[in-house]
C-alpha cells in the first residue's frame, strides 16, 4: 500500500468567542488507501472536505488547521514527520497539481526555471543537466517546440499549456504519488479531454499512483480505478469505479450520478439530490410542448464587435471578437451558444445588452433596433432584456442586503407604488426561486453559490423581462446545484414564457435546456441548427470535437486509456 489514510480528522480553529476556541470540523474521520500504480478519485460537492483531505497529506493547509489520525506513506506517518523531512517528500515523492494553472505558476519565472527548481533541489542535478531534463519533460507532456518554450513565461501560454507545464513540474522528480486537485475544472472541455488523456498516459508510463480530486463524476469515471465519494467531511461510499457506476450502494452516490445532464438521455427535468435521497421520482415526460408558431422576439443580423489595441504611436490594431452573428429567437424558446473560451460567445451576449457597444449589425427586438435606440428608449427596453452572469459570488453587491438588491431595479423603473409593495413583490419572487422571506435582510456572503445564483435570477425577474441572457450561469456551480438551477430555469420558462440565450461551454447542459444551438469558434458561427439534429449529426469537425470531449463517466474499461 503506497498511502493509507486512517481515521483522519481535520479541524480549523475559527478564533475565540467568549474565551472558548471555536473549531470547525472539516473532515470527520476519513479512511482510505491508495495502492501502488492506481488512480483513486475523491468526489464530492464543494465543502465536502475533499480538498482538505488531500492537502493534509503534505500539510499544505493553513496554519489554523489541526490534523488528527494517521497518514501512512510507505509506512511512515506523515502527521508526525518534521517540516524539513516533509519538505524533502514534497515534490520528490508526492507532487501536486492544482486547479488553476494561471495562478499556480509563478508569473515572473520562465517555464525552464520552474521545472528546474525541483530537479536541482531534490535530485541534485547541475543547471545543465536540469535544463536537458526540463526539455525532455516538456516534450513528454506534449508541448510543441519544447526547446523554444523553455524560455517563455507562463502568460505567453494558453491555459491548457500552462496546466501541462504544471504537470511537467510535478513529474520532474518522478514522484510515487501525484495529487491532482481539480486539475481540469478551470479548462475548456476540449482541453480537459487532452489533459485527462495526458495524465492517464503519464500515470502508466511513470508507474505512479494518482489521487484525483473532482466534483464531476463524468470526469472521474473516465480516469480512476477506485472512487471515494465524500459529503460533509465523511465518506459516503468507496468502491471500484465500475461498481460506483453500475451498482452504487449509497443514496447520495446514486443522486450524484442522476443529477448530471447527459448527452444520451433526454429528461424534461433533472434529478435533484434531495429528491433522489427522499426517494421521490421526477415527473417524466417530454415537458410542455413549445408553440412552433411563437413570434420571433429577438433577432440579430450581422452582429459585430471589435476591440482595438494601440499599436505603435498612432496605430490601432483591430481584434474581431464577434464576426457576423445572425439568429432568431422565438418567444418561449432557448437558444444555446457553445464554444471554447475565446470563441466570442460571452462578448456576443454582452453586446446584445449593449454592455459592450457593438461595432456593427442590428439587434431587432420585436422589430425595433436595440442598437440605435436613444438613452430614454433604451432605459425602457432594459426591463425586457436581462442578464444573469457566470459567477454568483461576483454578481451580487456584497454591501447590499438581498432586499435592497431586489428592490433597486423596481425603484429604478418605477415598478410598484411604494416600498412596501416592492418588498412584497421581492418576497414573492424569492419564494418562486425557492428561498424564503428571511433572506431579505441577509447579505450575499451568507448564501451558497446556488442560492446566490437564484437570487440573481430573482433580481432579473423583478423587471418582468421577456428575454434572459444566461452567461455561463451554471458553470461555476456544483452538479447537484446546477441541476436545481436548470430545473428552475425550465419552470420559469414554462410559467412566464421567457426566452433564453444560454451561453455555455458544456454541451450536455446546453442540450438539456436549448431548442436551438449556435456553435461559435473564433468569433464566427460555425454551425447553427436545432438541438436534436445537431447532436445526432454534427456537420462541422469543430462541433464533433466539442461533442467528443464531453466526459461520459465510466464506459466499461478505460475510455481514456483506450484512446491514448
Amino acid at each position: 500500500m503506497l498511502l493509507s489514510i486512517q481515521d483522519l480528522k481535520v479541524a480549523f480553529r475559527m478564533g475565540k468567542v467568549q474565551g472558548q476556541m471555536q473549531r470547525a470540523l472539516a473532515v470527520k474521520g476519513v479512511s482510505f488507501d491508495i495502492p501502488e500504480n492506481s488512480t483513486v478519485a475523491l468526489v464530492g460537492e464543494s465543502g465536502s472536505g475533499k480538498s482538505v483531505t488531500a492537502m493534509s497529506i503534505l500539510n499544505l493547509l493553513p496554519d489554523n488547521a489541526e490534523r488528527e489520525g494517521k497518514i501512512l506513506f510507505q509506512g511512515k506517518d506523515l502527521l508526525k514527520t518534521s517540516l524539513p523531512e516533509l519538505q524533502g517528500i514534497r515534490g520528490r515523492d508526492i507532487a501536486c497539481v492544482f486547479q488553476d494553472p494561471m495562478t499556480s505558476l509563478n508569473p515572473v519565472f520562465t517555464v525552464a526555471d520552474q521545472i528546474m527548481e525541483p530537479l536541482m533541489k531534490h535530485m541534485g542535478m547541475s543547471r545543465r543537466q536540469a535544463l536537458t531534463r526540463a526539455e525532455e519533460l516538456l516534450n513528454e507532456v506534449g508541448i510543441p517546440e519544447p526547446k523554444r518554450r523553455l524560455s517563455s513565461y507562463p502568460h505567453e501560454m494558453s491555459g491548457g499549456q500552462q496546466q501541462r507545464v504544471m504537470i511537467a513540474v510535478a513529474l520532474a522528480c518522478s514522484p510515487k504519488l501525484l495529487i491532482a486537485d481539480e486539475p481540469t475544472t478551470a479548462l475548456d472541455v476540449t482541453i480537459q479531454r487532452q489533459v485527462m488523456e495526458l495524465m492517464a498516459r503519464l500515470k502508466d508510463t511513470h508507474k505512479m499512483s494518482m489521487l484525483f480530486i473532482s466534483h464531476d463524476l463524468g470526469v472521474v469515471g473516465e480516469i480512476s480505478d477506485q472512487v471515494v465519494v465524500m459529503r460533509h467531511g465523511e465518506i459516503r461510499e468507496k468502491a471500484p469505479v465500475a461498481e460506483i457506476f453500475h451498482n452504487p450502494q449509497d443514496a447520495y452516490t446514486k443522486a450524484l450520478l442522476a443529477c448530471r445532464p447527459s448527452l444520451t438521455e433526454n429528461p424534461a427535468r433533472l434529478m435533484v439530490i434531495d429528491d433522489h435521497i427522499a426517494g421521490r421520482t421526477v415527473h417524466e415526460g417530454a415537458g410542455k410542448a413549445k408553440d412552433p408558431d411563437a413570434p420571433v422576439i429577438l433577432e440579430a443580423r450581422g452582429l459585430k464587435k471589435s476591440f482595438f489595441f494601440k499599436q505603435g504611436l498612432f496605430g490601432k490594431k483591430e481584434f474581431q471578437a464577434v464576426k457576423d452573428v445572425n439568429f432568431k429567437l422565438r418567444k418561449g424558446y432557448t437558444l444555446g451558444v457553445v464554444g471554447e473560451s475565446g470563441s466570442g460567445k460571452t462578448t456576443m451576449g454582452l453586446t446584445l445588452l449593449r454592455l459592450h457597444e457593438p461595432s456593427g449589425g442590428e439587434v431587432l427586438f420585436e422589430g425595433k433596433d436595440l442598437l440605435k435606440m436613444g438613452p430614454t428608449d433604451w432605459q425602457k427596453m432594459r426591463r425586457r432584456i436581462q442578464v444573469v452572469f457566470q459567477n454568483p459570488y461576483a454578481s451580487l453587491n456584497p454591501r447590499f442586503t438581498i432586499g435592497q438588491t431586489l428592490v433597486e431595479p423596481m425603484e429604478i423603473h418605477g415598478i410598484g407604488a411604494s416600498h412596501q409593495e416592492r418588498l412584497a413583490t421581492a418576497s414573492a419572487l424569492l419564494k418562486k426561486v425557492g428561498l424564503d422571506d428571511s433572506a431579505l435582510n441577509k447579505y450575499p456572503h451568507e448564501f451558497s453559490g446556488g442560492q446566490r445564483q437564484r437570487i440573481a435570477i430573482a433580481r432579473c425577474l423583478t423587471l418582468n423581462p421577456e428575454v434572459l441572457v444566461l452567461d455561463e450561469s451554471v458553470s461555476a456551480l456544483d452538479v447537484s446545484v446546477q441541476a436545481q438551477v436548470l430545473n428552475l430555469l425550465k419552470d420559469l420558462q414554462d410559467e412566464f414564457g421567457l426566452s433564453y440565450i444560454f451561453i455555455s461551454h458544456d454541451l450536455a447542459v446546453v442540450k438539456f435546456i436549448s431548442d436551438e444551438v449556435l456553435v461559435m469558434q473564433n468569433g464566427d458561427v460555425v454551425e447553427q441548427s436545432e438541438t436534436q439534429s445537431l447532436l445526432a449529426a454534427p456537420k462541422q469537425e469543430y462541433t464533433r470535437r466539442l461533442l467528443g470531449a464531453v466526459p461520459r463517466g465510466y464506459q466499461g474499461g478505460h475510455a481514456v486509456a483506450a484512446a491514448a
Partner: protein
C-alpha cells in the same frame, strides 16, 4: 440599509443577519491593541471637545507661574544670585530740590489709590512647568491638541473628499475625463510638496481654517490614485455590470454600488492622513505659516521650545512631544486595526 431594516414585516429574519459593518465591528473588538488605541484616541477626542467648549485649559494664556517655572516634581528653581551690583553704603541723598516731578508724587499716590492693585502670587512650580511667559505648559499642550487634532481631522476629511470624488470620476469614466484628471494629478505631484504648501499659504494667509485648506488641497493626490485604481477594478466587476443591466444610472453605480465596496480604502486613508496632517501642521507652524500668533498648537509649541532648550528648559518640548507621540502612535495603530477589520474578507464566512 435602514429602509429595509425598518419595515416591520421583514423583521423576521433579522436576528441572524449580520451586516458587513457589524461583522467589522466584531472583528475589531477581538483586537485588544486596536481597542486600547481606540480608547486613547477617544480620550483625546473628548479632551478636544472639552477644551473647545472651554471646560479645560481655558486660561492657557494666563501667566500663572514665574517665567520658566519648573515642573512640580523638580521643586522650585534655586533663587538666582541677583546681587551682582553692590548696594551703595552711603546716606541717601535728598533729590527733592532738583527733582522736577517731586510736586506730583502726592497727587499720583492719591490717584493710584482709586485702583486696586493685586499682586498675583506667581507659582514657583507648575504641574509640568511653565514657558518663558509663565504660562502653564500642560494647559498649553491641551489647547494645542485641540487645534492640532482639529486641523488634522478636518484637513484629512477635505483631502479624502477631494481624492475620493476625483478618483471615482477618473476611475469610473476613464478616457478623456480620466486623462484630464491624471494631468491635474501629475501637475500637483510634480511640484515639490513644501513649495506647493508655501504657495497655498501665501494665498490663504494664517489661521486654523487656512491650514485646513492648505493641507486638504495639497494632500489629496495619494488618495486619488488609490480610489481611482479601486474604481477601475470594480467598474468592470459583474455586480456593477448587473447594476448597469437593470438600468442603474452612472451616479448610482459609482456612489451607491461601488463606493460602499471601496469605502474601507477611503476610511483607512482618512485616518492615515489625520496622522500625517498633524505632523504637517507642526511643520507649517514651526515655519511660521501655521496658526495665528494668538493661538497655540503643537507646532508653535515645538517652535518655542527650540529657543528654550538652549537655556535648559526642556519641559515644554517633552510635554508636547509626549502628547503628540501618544496620539499619533495610538491613531496609527488604531488605523491598522481598522484596516484589518474593514477589509471584507467575507470569503472566510462562506
Amino acid at each position: 440599509m435602514s429602509a429595509v431594516l425598518s419595515t416591520p414585516n421583514s423583521a423576521v429574519g433579522s436576528q441572524r443577519s449580520q451586516g458587513v459593518w457589524a461583522a467589522s465591528w466584531r472583528r475589531l473588538r477581538t483586537n485588544k491593541l486596536g481597542m486600547f488605541c481606540m480608547a486613547i484616541v477617544a480620550f483625546f477626542l473628548v479632551l478636544v471637545a472639552l477644551s473647545g467648549s472651554g471646560l479645560v485649559a481655558k486660561d492657557w494664556q494666563k501667566e500663572v507661574g514665574v517665567p520658566n517655572a519648573q515642573p512640580n516634581f523638580m521643586g522650585p528653581a534655586p533663587a538666582e544670585a541677583t546681587g551682582v551690583i553692590a548696594q551703595p553704603k552711603g546716606p541717601n541723598v535728598d533729590l527733592s530740590d532738583i527733582d522736577p516731578l517731586a510736586p506730583k508724587y502726592k497727587e499720583w499716590d492719591e490717584r493710584a489709590k482709586a485702583y486696586k492693585t493685586e499682586a498675583t502670587v506667581k507659582a514657583e512650580t507648575l504641574p509640568f512647568g511653565a514657558d518663558r511667559l509663565g504660562r502653564d505648559v500642560l494647559s498649553k499642550a491641551v489647547k494645542g491638541a485641540e487645534v492640532s487634532i482639529l486641523v488634522g481631522v478636518l484637513a484629512a476629511v477635505v483631502a479624502t473628499l477631494i481624492g475620493t470624488v476625483l478618483g471615482a470620476v477618473s476611475g469610473f469614466f476613464g478616457g478623456k475625463v480620466g486623462d484630464f484628471l491624471e494631468w491635474v494629478y501629475n501637475v500637483f505631484n510634480a511640484i515639490p510638496y513644501i513649495l506647493l504648501v508655501f504657495a497655498f499659504a501665501a494665498i490663504f494667509g494664517r489661521g486654523v481654517l487656512s491650514v485646513v485648506l492648505i493641507l486638504g488641497l495639497t494632500g489629496w493626490t495619494g488618495i486619488y490614485r488609490l480610489i481611482r485604481a479601486e474604481f477601475m477594478k470594480h467598474s468592470v466587476r459583474e455586480y456593477v455590470r448587473s447594476a448597469e443591466a437593470i438600468g442603474a444610472s452612472r451616479m448610482s453605480r459609482m456612489f451607491k454600488h461601488i463606493l460602499p465596496n471601496v469605502s474601507h480604502v477611503a476610511l483607512v486613508q482618512l485616518s492615515l492622513h489625520v496622522v500625517s496632517f498633524i505632523k504637517s501642521e507642526v511643520i507649517l507652524s514651526y515655519l511660521g505659516l501655521g496658526v495665528g500668533v494668538d493661538q497655540v498648537s503643537w507646532g508653535t509649541m515645538l517652535s518655542e521650545s527650540q529657543s528654550e532648550l538652549i537655556l535648559g528648559y526642556w519641559w515644554q518640548l517633552v510635554a508636547v512631544t509626549g502628547f503628540m507621540a501618544v496620539f499619533v502612535t495610538a491613531f496609527a495603530l488604531f488605523t491598522d486595526a481598522l484596516r484589518d477589520a474593514l477589509d471584507p474578507k467575507l470569503r472566510g464566512l462562506e
